[in-house]
Symmetry: C2
Subunit: 588 residues, 2 copies
């Protein structure tokens, strides 16, 4: 118990706004900082203070950690790790870790060679390499302490998610939904690397760690082996539901929250059924992995609306009652507010008015379709069928929001959300499964949501009221906002743009107060920390990710890159590849 208490230093550390000790800011994924030296008044004077090139091209997602006086920085494949000395005026490299990985993993990464960051805990830095090796490095020396293989790239299994340390365990997911990988989340002991438990997204209850009769879905007990019975035959074995996003933890409830991705293949005709538990919000016991509740947002997905986006654990006043809520901005265009204790669905509203594939989520508890989206036939790729091009579905496969995490500002009660404003044409086709080969089964073409009105912008940065499910303000962005937001007690919210701006806006009004064009497009998240009495704002630039795949992988045909290339082709007029950390501060 003493050991466990020590391992949960993190619970204390994350409350220190001078540091940024986890990829999500804190256990609850709030991504909010209590720092307030930089304010709406002075942020206009912000300027780069120092920079560091990572030596790696392609997409730089995630953000550095700051533990004490050291900054820990990661790169996309080959996943180098740098420890930078923040006390040193030159920000010298204290140590560097350069994994040797077989480059054959690169072609089985669906959406660029991204990595969403490092985790810290128990004096260790954890890195989930692209090839699914989880390594624990001594935070002081960079020495490799232990490593464990979490998957097999030859079967299309890869790692892009940041590891997450909650208490005495480090959690890793798996990517490969476009290769028929069956998703799982795995807890390893931070001390030894021993596997503690693994929970699959589908399969028998023994694999999913669902307790029939106990685990609930929308308030009702889940039936036995639902992860098999909602599939045809043995399709669940190649069923997707991967876990490449962000995870949260509520220490009081001892529950871990995360979402599972799309069912494989993208051709819905090939996989009848609800395809549980793809596209699902999971609440699992930290120690046992047992599922307390689940909520499937997009049963039988027909559009690749992975449910992996972050779960924000904000306590909110819901109609006069303080509730432990979970807020989730899903790829499918709905923002969900749930009771995170029980999994009760409280709010489900579109956070982009362009969303058209469903009219709404049925909130009538007495309805047979309670909690399910009410689909619009015209946009059903299942109904339209194979080899038929279903047109102008909104959002596109990359969703109204993708991996870019939102932040929550308790002062205003607003969620600050980087979003996509993109629609698509989607044509499913029959595909057969071969291990390690793409198992996609659809051809896509994406375009600006307002194309029919002559609009060209593909993003909005919005403020959302999750108590009622309404947009409070919305700023048009030329490109999808593919980097994460961070709000602060200075009343300022920061985020990066695909063409390369670090922007600061007034959290209350959305008014743009500052912008700076960093070396490359930003798909990373913003970190803020304090060092030597001064507040800093740090962000990685380095264009790529799914939105930037044309630049990152050198693709030019508009339906290449799983349909994303054409929609972002004009990005090439603004920026080029290259990973650079920029650290901003107010002038002395």
């Amino acid at each position: 118990l003493a050991g466990a208490a020590k391992a949960d230093d993190l619970q204390t550390l994350q409350k220190d706004p001078k540091q940024w000790v986890m990829p999500t800011g804190d256990y609850g994924n709030l991504r909010h900082s209590a720092l307030k030296q930089i304010t709406t008044e002075n942020v206009g004077k912000l300027a780069p203070a120092w920079q560091f090139s990572t030596g790696v091209l392609r997409g730089h997602e995630g953000a550095p950690l700051v533990i004490g006086d050291v900054m820990y920085l990661h790169t996309p494949f080959p996943n180098n790790v740098y420890a930078l000395d923040l006390k040193d005026p030159d920000h010298k490299i204290l140590w560097k870790y350069e994994p040797k990985q077989d480059p054959s993993v690169v072609p089985v990464m669906c959406c660029d060679t991204v990595n969403r960051g490092l985790a810290y805990g128990d004096g260790k830095i954890f890195l989930a390499q692209a090839d699914t090796t989880l390594v624990a490095l001594d935070a002081k020396s960079g020495k490799l302490l232990w490593s464990v293989k979490n998957g097999d790239p030859s079967k299309g299994q890869t790692s892009t998610a940041a590891p997450h340390v909650f208490k005495d365990k480090v959690f890793v997911g798996i990517a490969g939904g476009e290769f028929g990988v069956r998703g799982h989340i795995t807890a390893y002991d931070v001390k030894t690397g021993q596997q503690v438990w693994r929970g699959y997204s589908m399969g028998p209850d023994a694999d999913t760690l669902i307790e029939p009769g106990k685990t609930t879905h929308l308030g009702k007990p889940v039936e036995k082996d639902s992860g098999i019975t909602t599939w045809e035959g043995e399709q669940w074995k190649i069923g997707g539901g991967t876990t490449w996003g962000w995870y949260s933890y509520d220490p009081d409830l001892n529950l871990v929250y995360y979402g599972s991705g799309n069912p494989s293949t993208w051709n819905p005709k090939q996989r009848p059924g609800d395809n549980r538990w793809s596209m699902t919000i999971w609440a699992r016991d930290l120690d046992t992995g047992k599922a307390k509740w689940v909520y499937q947002m997009t049963p039988h997905d027909e559009w690749d609306y992975d449910g992996i986006n972050e779960m924000i654990l904000a306590d909110q006043d819901m109609g006069g009652q303080k509730r432990k809520t979970l807020v989730h901005f899903d790829r499918n265009g709905f923002a969900y507010t749930l009771d995170r204790v029980t999994g009760e669905l409280l709010v489900a509203e579109k956070f982009d008015p362009a969303v058209n594939w469903a009219s709404k989520v049925d909130m009538d508890k007495s309805s047979k379709t309670y909690g399910r989206p009410l689909g619009v036939a015209k946009y059903s790729t299942e109904q339209n069928g194979e080899d038929v091009n279903t047109q102008y579905v909104c959002p596109a496969a990359l969703g109204s929001k993708d991996q870019q995490p939102a932040s929550y500002d308790a002062t205003t009660g607003l969620f600050l959300v980087p979003t996509n404003h993109v629609c698509m044409d989607y044509e499913p086709f029959r595909v057969s499964y071969t291990a390690g080969q793409p198992y996609v089964g659809a051809t896509l073409e994406m375009f600006p949501a307002g194309k029919d009105k002559g609009e060209t912008h593909t993003g909005n940065f919005i403020a959302w009221d999750a108590k009622v499910g309404k947009i409070v303000w919305s700023n048009k962005e030329q490109f999808s906002v593919w980097g994460g937001a961070t709000s602060t007690d200075g009343g300022v919210t920061f985020y990066g743009t695909l063409e390369g701006y670090l922007k600061a806006v007034d959290t209350k009004t959305g008014k743009e107060l500052y912008k700076y064009k960093t070396p490359s497009g930003i798909i990373g998240n913003v970190t803020t920390y304090e060092s030597g009495g001064k507040q800093y704002v740090a962000v990685l630039s380095g264009v790529g990710g799914w939105a930037g795949i044309g630049l990152a992988a050198g693709l030019s045909k508009s339906n290449e890159g799983l349909g994303a290339v054409g929609n972002y082709a004009s990005l090439a007029n603004y920026t080029a590849l290259g990973g650079v950390l920029t650290v901003f501060a107010l002038p002395n």
Copy 2:
């Protein structure tokens, strides 16, 4: 004649301090700007204004051009070219040129995959690709107008120098002194790409364009076929003397100036004789290429002291008399002041007190060794012989200064010089020639010049009085200053450092007034320009070049990279690869 006048728009353009129309700043290689918004008083407030990642790793030498409202940017291999719109608030890419080059050129580049920049003239942007292809692009559209092959990489011939446009001709050199390439400079017609003339560094007079009896060396006519008779047998055919540096032009004298590099091989025993005209300052007629005068600085080189550094055409008051001088800081550690009309040697003094291989240059006109360095036997790798390790020779092979160009500030009469402070052990060995294979013949180990006194710094940034040959002030730099200097009428001189700082110093005193850590080590030169009424300072970071070859090529043995790796190993504690343009300005 009207056409020629038009082609010499450059003579007017280079006088406009708002633009930066040639890689050398002006025809005379002064690298000085008349801009003075940024002053010694306010430069401390400088800050990055915007940045642009080039999408290429490895060493970024040279600097962008600014023509009108457009910035032209180049990269190392694969030598992409960007035209950036300076009027556009996003600095959008107007066009991009991406040559297709056979990557087999990379292993025959001695000192990283560098490229020292673009030239402009006659509405065209000229790029000398690594593979020796010279291309002319339409400055407006990026359209390829003509291209010509200047050499053959399969024989070790490559291109790293910037092309230089003087009047109606574009000049290109050749690299490959470490591959037995016989150097030459070639003039092409800017309009058509037709070769106008080529002057070799060695060979018969018909090749060198030396006019026996007319061309002078130290005031005396040069003898017939001196480029053959100072070699044994046919060694001149693989004799080096490459031309990979900077060129200058005096329009009044109609003379082009440049230096030739080391004789091949680095083993002096294998090539008896003075090895003319390696290591030589050349003054050639622009229109015919005929040599007016030559001056060989290091006859029969024993240390790889290439003579290619820039020739600065400053008019100076020499003992009461205004003279057209040429000032040259040579790799061999001597700074030469010559009369550029006649080639008369006026001053030759050490610009780093550490220099020990020669006691001095003989300035006694009546002496038999007039104009020659007086060697110190102990440091003669020729006398010590093959397979003997000659120790602690100063400077090291990369010289007291290498390709990093100096600037001249007429107001103070000072030359601002980025220097190296490095010595070496040098062990020559017998080598045989195979076309396209390294033809080096020496093993080197480099170290800080003050190693014996426990000093570790390998650079100094100095101010030099070339009228008398004296250091006026000297700033220690932790690393060799591998980027070029630019002085301004604001009284500020700018330069970059290998660990990544852009620095501003008081030209008069050397006092450091500003520094900023850019994303990567700087080996590029500083450009300053004005746009929208505001002065900007631009520099490429991106560590590499010979000094940074350990990082650039991933080498770690101390004598790898032609002996440079060990001396700069600690650079890996400060910076990593990645090309980024940073543009600085005063805050609004």
